[in-house]
Structure formats: C-alpha cells, structure tokens
C-alpha cells in the first residue's frame, strides 16, 4: 500500500506560545562537562533577520549513538534524547546547548536540522556539519558533490570561545543548501 502524503503548511506567526517549551533548546544542561553552544541566525533574501522562525535539531550523542530514549519534553537531566527546539529571537538568532554529535558509521558528523518560519510554506531540511574533521568533510559522499561555496553553507564555524556558529540564509549568494529526501 502506498498512501499520498499530507502536505505541509507554514507554521505561521503565532507558534511562540505553542511549540517552544521550557528547556527545549537545552539538549544537555549548561553545566554538562562537554556542553557546547550552537548558535546562529536566520536571514531572508535581503539579509534581514527572520524573527519568527523555529529550528529543530536531532543528533547522535558524543559517541555516535542514536538516542532512543523518550523524554524530550520532560527534559530529565540524566537522559540525552538528541532533540532540541529553538525559536528565533527579534534579531533572528537561535541558540542550543548540546554536545557535539559523534560520527555514525565513520561518516562526517552533523546535526540534522529542520526549519519552519512564517513565510516558509513547508518545512525545510538541512544539516549542520562539525568543522573539525576536514578529511571526513572532504570525503563525505553528500558534501563532496557540492561546489565549495554551497558546501560551506552546511558547515559550522568554530568560535574562539569554543562554541559553534551557523547562520542560515534563505536566499542569496550564501543561500543554505536545503535537502529533499524523497
């Protein structure tokens, strides 16, 4: 049996009181010994920050294990569920506190990402790759087929304080690569 998909629709402007929840952007508590901040901003086609976007990440743990634990909403501090949700602020920025995903089956490690916003009619999938393992990035079967400028839109930047920074551009020269899995 093959069923036709239910189509998506924009998240609209008024999700702020419905979808973000207490601790939704903290995949680990900030005092976790390996906690890292993942921050950035979402920009529209004229470079204006998008203040009404919602970003979700889904990731492996530090050892490359895919979490199966429930409890993303209750946020028991002892369980890593691998899911986070952050609404952008007035300056378009989002922020997560998490751990860096480990490599799964020797592939280049990344955060799986899905983006929603007012003005975006359906979900957009993308990825945020970790910057440090250049060799893995170079040989990744998905990244290696992209032109260098496009590839760069999928790789986070390491800041001097150790945090990860990753901006998302919806249009323009730096337009982020969005992914179709179908």
């Amino acid at each position: 049996m093959s069923l036709l998909p239910t189509p998506g629709q924009t998240v609209g402007p008024f999700f702020g009181y419905a979808l973000p929840y207490e601790g939704s952007e903290n995949l680990v508590p900030p005092h976790h010994p390996h906690a890292v901040r993942l921050t950035g901003a979402v920009y529209d086609g004229t470079g204006v920050p998008v203040p009404d976007a919602l970003i979700e990440v889904w990731q492996a743990d530090e050892n490359g294990n895919i979490p199966t634990a429930r409890g993303s909403l209750t946020r028991d501090r002892h369980v890593f569920t691998g899911f986070g949700r952050s609404a952008t602020t007035r300056d378009g920025s989002y922020s997560f506190t998490t751990v860096e995903p480990g490599s799964i089956n020797d592939t280049a490690p990344f955060f799986a990402l899905v983006l929603f916003a007012r003005g975006i009619l359906d979900k957009l999938h993308s990825r945020i790759y970790l910057p440090q393992d250049r060799d893995a990035l170079e040989h990744d079967p998905f990244l290696s087929v992209l032109p260098p400028q496009r590839r760069a839109t999928l790789v986070a930047n390491r800041q001097s304080d150790g945090s990860l920074h990753h901006d998302i551009h919806l249009q323009g020269d730096d337009e982020t690569v969005f992914i179709d899995f179908s």
Partner: protein
C-alpha cells in the same frame, strides 16, 4: 518573478489581484497536467500570492540527499512527556471556553499505511472569535480567558489521536486588503523518521474562504489540498455535547524498517 525591489515598491494588493494570481497558477498547473506533467503532491515553496514568502523561499533547487541513519529515525516521545489532560483544550482554565465544542480525531499513518505509534502531536489555534493568545496578534476580537488554544497528545498503538477543543474562528491578516484566513488548527507531527517531520494546518469542510486564501492554495493540486480538510463525522459526534471531525494524516519520507524485524508490527 518578483524581486526584493519590486516588492518594496508594491502597494498592498486587493483580493481581486491575489485571486487572479491564484487562478493563473491553477490554470497553468491544469494545463501542465493535461500535457502529461506529474501531480504536485506537495506544497509550493515559491508561491508569490503569499507575500511573506517572497524573500523567504529557497531560490535554488532543494538538493536531493540519501538520508543518513540519524535521519531515518525520529526523536522519541512517550506518554510520560505529555499529560492526558493536555489533549482537551477546553479544560485548561476554571471556566468553559466560548464557542462550538468539537472533537478532532484521526489516525497518523506512514506512506505504507502503518500506524505512527507513540509519537507527539501538537496543536495550536485561534479561539472561537478568531483571536490567538499570542501577544503579537492585534486582531480586535475578544480574548477568551478560558481558552489558550494549545494542546498535545501522543498517538496510541493504532496511531490514533484525539483532541477536544473549540471550533476556531476565521481571522483577518495583512497579506492583502481584506485578507481572511479560513478557520484552521495548526498541527505539528513527528513520524517514524526525522524525514517525516511535518507542520501543517487542518481546515474545516465547506469553508467559503478556501478559493481566496493563498496559503491553502499554495498546494496547487486540488486532491492534495483536499487532504488538509477534515470530514464531518457523525459517529464522532457526542450527543448533547460536541460535533466530531475526522482527519487522518499520512507522513511519507524514507525511514529505517528494522522495527518490523523485531515483531513490533502487525
């Protein structure tokens, strides 16, 4: 194609202009279909009648990728994540909300017709007067002190969900002059895989605003658009209490299939 500068110069359109943009896209699609083009089962990202999309839709083609193993699985939610009472939006305050009490229920399935079990469904909506609690909603309609308009539930072993709520009102917005959204409930769902993640809107049957609304019509195929409209279901209606609407949801997208081998599937 409209670019940023023409958009800035553009005065606010009226309904006639928006309706004509909607129909011309519709006619083009039907001509393409008659010429053998494929059915568009998905929402169009580049849909200028929805003005907020002009600077926000990706201009480059989405890049096809084979999902990695993390994307073939989904974040897991369980009954401990959500309290039973969260699925009843009429019980969140001391008094009863104003409006037409309704039950909205249905089944969440994957593309192969298997139930999406124990996964999170989140909803939010305007009140009966068409007003959201959200602080940025400036529509001069009354706030209902007994209605917040948010709910959550976890699908059961059949993939079924059920909410009790109030039928939301239509409300005005600023896409164009005299723009009104058809009444809808926002739905957010997780499937069996991250590739199946979806946020969408459920509409009510027979809404006269359908042909006028650019968000609804951004799904260019009539049958695909129809899949967002709930059916009135008298079997779901409770005597002396609430009208019932049934809305089934299909989440397609590649997923890992190992759970079948574990005897977890009928």
């Amino acid at each position: 194609m409209m670019n940023a500068s023409t958009k800035d110069d553009m005065t606010v359109s009226d309904q006639q202009q928006i309706s004509s943009e909607i129909s011309s896209r519709q006619e083009q699609y039907e001509m393409d279909r008659a010429g053998g083009a494929q059915v568009h089962n998905r929402t169009t990202l580049n849909y200028p009648p929805y003005r907020s999309s002009l600077l926000r839709y990706p201009t480059k083609d989405l890049h096809h990728a084979d999902p990695e193993s993390i994307e073939l699985l989904s974040p897991a939610f369980g009954h401990n994540d959500v309290a039973e009472i969260e699925s009843d939006l009429t019980l969140q305050h001391t008094g009863e909300p104003v409006g037409e009490r309704i039950v909205v229920s249905g089944r969440v399935l994957d593309g192969d017709g298997r139930p999406v079990r124990n996964q999170l469904v989140e909803v939010w909506q305007a009140n009966a007067a068409g007003r959201y609690i959200h602080k940025r909603d400036q529509h001069p309609a009354p706030i209902d002190p007994n209605f917040t308009g948010t709910g959550r539930t976890i699908t059961d072993d059949n993939g079924d969900y059920r909410f009790v709520t109030i039928k939301p009102g239509a409300y005005p917005w600023k896409n164009h002059t005299n723009a009104w959204r058809p009444a809808h409930i926002h739905f957010s769902l997780f499937g069996n895989a991250f590739t199946q993640r979806i946020i969408t809107q459920m509409y009510f049957p027979g809404d006269p605003l359908f042909p006028l609304d650019p968000i609804y019509n951004s799904i260019i195929d009539h049958d695909a658009r129809d899949r967002l409209v709930a059916n009135y279901d008298h079997d779901l209606t409770s005597p002396e209490w609430a009208l019932g609407y049934r809305w089934d949801i299909v989440l397609t997208g590649p997923q890992q299939t190992w759970f079948e081998a574990e005897g977890d599937d009928e």
